[in-house]
Symmetry: C2
Subunit: 334 residues, 2 copies
């Protein structure tokens, strides 16, 4: 064999080898459904759980129809600092409507909002937020409300990052939603926030359709306006989808017990307890906000997304804690 031929062969062989390696690498990269999750315990727990429940013939196998996964929204799928994003929406509406409501100047929580003291305005938690929703939305039709949410989201910006709120969603959670759906799961949002506030944008942003969104709500009624059927929002609380309300909301809307649940605050405690308290393989996950640089760091002392019981009991309950700082390679959606 002439030396140059052998050299050519060797080069070709090297090239082939390199190409093979390259192909394998890109295959591995393409096959990784969770590229924003570091190779730490939470990622391993997710993958092990999904492989277990989807493996036919295994004792942990779960039929597709029963692969229900529920996710809290605020602080779990998108950020919630410095306050719930829906609160920015409601506060903007209160300010816009204030001229028609001179009585708000002396009435809480409206007075705090108009003074700019957002922390005081929200001190009462989700119920107070819902009361402000009622005051600012009663009388609107559901179509008008949907339009006002969609319009607000186009123009509103987060006060510290300057990004649209719908961009402040977590990349690892988007990947997790897709990974679960690829494996036959039906993904639901179960939020303390307003059901109608989430529905106009959640399908585009999370791939979760309106009928798979559960949340707090005010009552509404059906009527004819100028002969046209409309559904009108009423100034009356219908349902608070928080804490013990979450399992009840899940049961009412889904009628099945989930096998996967993710949350980030003690408002999600009962949802995780209900989900993981059933028979067979279950996964409960708490997103722990530990990254003050890339996001926010808060838990026990926070005025929003308070997490005490969840941290204290996670180990005993077998729940997985995702530490944003060490477990997430990326935080926000790209």
């Amino acid at each position: 064999m002439p030396p140059n031929q052998s050299g050519t062969r060797s080069i070709l062989s090297n090239m082939k080898f390199s190409l093979l390696i390259l192909a394998l690498c890109s295959l591995i990269a393409a096959a990784d459904p969770l590229p924003s999750w570091n190779h730490t315990a939470p990622r391993q727990a997710i993958v092990a759980f999904v492989e277990k429940v989807t493996k036919e013939g295994s004792s942990d196998f779960v039929p597709i129809s029963e692969r229900i996964a529920v996710f809290d929204n605020d602080g779990t799928l998108w950020a919630e600092q410095p306050m719930y994003f829906q609160a920015f929406f409601v506060f903007d509406r209160i300010k816009a409507l204030a001229p028609q409501h001179p009585e708000w100047k002396d009435k809480e929580p409206f007075a705090s909002v108009l003074r700019g003291d957002m922390k005081a305005a929200l001190a009462g938690g989700e119920r107070v937020l819902l009361e402000m929703v009622m005051a600012t939305h009663a009388g609107m039709t559901t179509e008008e409300f949907e339009k006002s949410v969609s319009h607000w989201l186009i123009t509103a910006k987060h006060p510290t990052t300057g990004r649209p709120f719908t961009e402040m969603v977590y990349q690892p959670m988007l990947e997790l939603l897709t990974y679960l759906r690829t494996n036959g799961f039906k993904t639901f949002i179960v939020s303390g926030g307003g059901i109608e506030f989430m529905r106009p944008w959640a399908e585009k942003v999370y791939g979760i359709p309106p009928e798979q969104i559960i949340g707090s709500s005010i009552k509404s009624k059906y009527e004819l306006r100028d002969g046209k059927p409309v559904i009108v929002k009423l100034p009356e609380i219908n349902f608070i989808d928080d804490k013990v309300g979450k399992p009840v909301g899940i049961h009412h809307h889904i009628g099945r017990r989930p096998i996967f649940a993710a949350g980030n605050s003690d408002g999600d405690f009962e949802m995780l307890e209900w989900t993981t308290g059933g028979k067979g393989a279950r996964l409960g996950m708490i997103i722990h906000h530990t990254d003050a640089e890339r996001e926010w760091a808060y838990d026990r002392e926070s005025h929003i997304g308070k997490l005490i019981k969840g941290l204290d009991e996670a180990a005993a309950k077998g729940w997985t804690i995702s530490d944003m700082k060490s477990d997430w390679q990326t935080v926000f959606a790209r």
Copy 2:
């Protein structure tokens, strides 16, 4: 060419032709998604509607995510005579629990039930039925309730046909549900009956999963019993999914306006009005019980499934009336 060869050819050719016809016939039969619907106006309306909304590029095209179809249950998907099937279930429970409730002897509607006067017991409509549901089910966990429904359905028989209740479902409607789903529709039940009464069996019988069932409900609460999480039924009405309640229930659970609705009584009037009052192609359908031989014949004067407004206004509203006697080749599921 020798004559016998030509004869063989001719026989072969005839055989081929027959086989072709046979193949075509079986293809047509296999391709007919609605074999139990006669070739009358309702079938034509259904097919024309589905072809219109699924034809890409057409001005009537509806994306898959918005192809929402809603169906009443009692009298639309299964029979409702001589009384709502859920009433048989509740009456059986009242009789079983009567020894523990001596006060029921003098208290309506329980007294009527115990006297065997079912008509009087149900005179108050769905609200009274729901009150009986509350009285007989409060305190049970949702799991216990589900088991009691499933157990009852195995043994209970319809009083006149002697068939299990879950066999008294309409074959043409099963075909319609499948036809719509094959064309990308998501099918929902929107019933005045109890949401939890339908969920244990509707997936098996109709192919409709629990999370796509909307109905009347009583409240429930989450609690720990012996350290195990349960959801317990409370003696308090949560929601009446009838008449003006149906569009509200649809909005709350689905969050989108359906484009197809089928019902059979004036309890479905607002659901049809809400569905067909939207923009674009819509189909509203009323199942008219006209077949006293194969099923029952009733409308304006019936104590159950009363249909007056629907008949009076269907033409003006553009709704299709399915006359069971002339439009259905088969009534009950085979």
